[in-house]
Symmetry: C2
Subunit: 463 residues, 2 copies
Amino acid sequence: MHIYKRMTEKVVIIGGGAAGPKTAAKLKRENPNIIIEMYTDEQNVSYSACGLPYYIENIIPNIEELLVRSPEEFERHGIKVFLRHKAIKIDKRNQMVVFEKLTTGEKLEVYYDILVIATGARPYIPDIENVNDFNNIYTLRKLEDGVLIKNAIKKADTVTLVGCGYIGIELLEAFIKNGLKVNVINNHKYIMAMFDDDISRQIQEYVMKKDGNNINLYNNQYAVRFEGENEKTNKIITNIGEEIESDFTVICAGIVPNSEIAKEAGLKTGVSNSIWVNSHFATSYPKIYAVGDCCEKMHIVTKKHCWLPLGSTANKEGRCAAINIASNNCDFAGVLGAAVSRYFDYTVCMTGITEREAKELGYDVITTTVTKEDRAGYMPEAATITLKIIVDSKSREILGVQGIGTGDAEKRVATVSIAIMNAVKVDEFMGLDLPYAPPFSTAIDPLLNAINIIQEKLDKNIK
Amino acid sequence: MHIYKRMTEKVVIIGGGAAGPKTAAKLKRENPNIIIEMYTDEQNVSYSACGLPYYIENIIPNIEELLVRSPEEFERHGIKVFLRHKAIKIDKRNQMVVFEKLTTGEKLEVYYDILVIATGARPYIPDIENVNDFNNIYTLRKLEDGVLIKNAIKKADTVTLVGCGYIGIELLEAFIKNGLKVNVINNHKYIMAMFDDDISRQIQEYVMKKDGNNINLYNNQYAVRFEGENEKTNKIITNIGEEIESDFTVICAGIVPNSEIAKEAGLKTGVSNSIWVNSHFATSYPKIYAVGDCCEKMHIVTKKHCWLPLGSTANKEGRCAAINIASNNCDFAGVLGAAVSRYFDYTVCMTGITEREAKELGYDVITTTVTKEDRAGYMPEAATITLKIIVDSKSREILGVQGIGTGDAEKRVATVSIAIMNAVKVDEFMGLDLPYAPPFSTAIDPLLNAINIIQEKLDKNIK
């Protein structure tokens, strides 16, 4: 692989969400003389898309609060920002990108010495009849999507969510908080189906116990047709003929990478059509890097390529790619799929792989699930958490953990993340010295308790 | 070393605080046939001493809530409990302990096959003139201490704390919450002097900014004489002649191990007179183990013996010792000194060693201190944390971290604990995949931000 040390050249970045701006900012710090141009087809750069559900919920009053850095801030640091410029073609032989200026339709050819593709991902739109025929079907990805949905709430009594993963459950909270009745069409046994069934069942039970009066849950089915008139849909028909009425619809059925431009340029793609990169974020073609949601990841546990696009990962990748462009010495470890969300006071989080995934991959797994108070039971703030630990019985390494509950499950999942990254065996975990005081944890932390049980199971060969 | 596999013998445990009961309970689960007798000079066994400040503060209404397991519960599991029995001599050649029954003065000789010393620690009483002459000078260690101090508050307007470490700051909160004026005599530059000065200064500033009107702080001095009459002291004279008046006094100037009985029996002692043990908790003499606050620890970072007695450690040690007594295969990794406390909404926590300790030990350290919001700044619950990271510039391993602030510093310190245990280098840390969502953290966690800065300092050799 070619190593790029001479850096008075021009770096062109396509994309202004998280990974692109991070690459630009870090690269400028690494080498202030470098010329950086960042292009985005949006009206904004560098914003926190993850905050949108809380804007919709009204926890965040102004959408401007989600802006991390303005184009002017980038310009002040010597990074040129081009808004409303859509990349339409990469001419890799001539080191050019063709952009369309969306305001005028004008085409621009932009030369690069190094290109960074940070085009992100977009909502996946399932193949539902008439899905494109109505203007009250939304997705949530960009700032303007958040504004549209927030406006839609004002005129609505009911809404339908198509899909119920991390974004779905956050929107569910936002809608319930705003007094809407919510239909959820979820083509899985339970909501939050990225968790193991025993965990997602508990999440669903909590949600339905709390707000079941205002939620109609349509599990194990999928939308096949939208019906309506005057550009508004008011009815969704599902595969089993269920007719679901509501004032508007949000599709949150996953995302797909914006990798077409890379694919058309002949760059190698991988899992889920994401752009193949090596551990330095170099693509299959010289002088072109890819970072963030558009590119493939390496899974630390499975050691396989995967596509787990997450905002925190995008930031880390941008930083690492910038270091590589400047000096080529940042080897990215990969991802665990560590993620967290909440439904009001109820946290749901995970890291590593699930029991289901582990079994599919052929691991001989031992699991345990403990439900404990998250701090000393006599403290008024004590609350319950459930931790499910998945361990490879051969290596005795932790493969994953799932945490749920009104207590602080997230801290334990964060702690396990670093254990998994370092292939820590359950036996080494037993003595883990964690900070303890009654307002923060229990004398034997629930996590250690779970690990102890796993260790006993392993030693006694109990499945 | 002798390995004890045959376990229909009798195990005698001296001590009923945390490590003793944990050893008993785990050992009984490991081998239900074993005969276990647990002796304590107190009226209770198995209670959470760490909860006492919150009982005094009135957060916990009834002291019974601090009882983890009653003597009856132990008896039901086949563990004999002897309350108010003080061990006065170990006859190691004849495998006997002499106990004094405190209710009658009667002496008992008790035979053991295996002895577990879990005698804990007691408050350190500085050499202050008249310290033993008044009945309104308290310490906080046992349940009855908590009751005495809670009663003392009722008749008092002012109190003096001698010392201000973890227990001191928790008592300070309890006293302020109960409307007392508090004098603090602290023979250090700042309160919470186990932290580095730059951190303890910030802790002190927070405390004094919040409640300075009701706190008189006497730093850099120590008590030399108590004065008073009718068995009540109302005045403390310090080494620089300061006269400090109050209705009662609590001495929280550290603890010392209850190791005299072991020392008199000829067992090897170590740091701070604690009982020497190997990584299996065997003492220097066959068939005698020691666990919990009375025994020496191995520091994971410094690889040196130390004495860092903490409740969470005591529990882990009890468990590990029990496994060794039953089957001899639990090797204890050691301690990091991970600890946490809080002053109202302000968390103070640390793990590993401080910059001061690192320098004393000859490390060439690089540190960084970052102050950041603990979650997305636009979330209403976002609060500030300050993290100080200490790294060995040679090995690039993290030696310690200190965290303070109204935000969730403790989660970050817990995460680093496992990194230190596994000698994770800062370079490996950069890609750490932590769960992220706006209510829980920032896209680049403050911890990763601090690590990134350290890495840059290391690479550019900035001190």
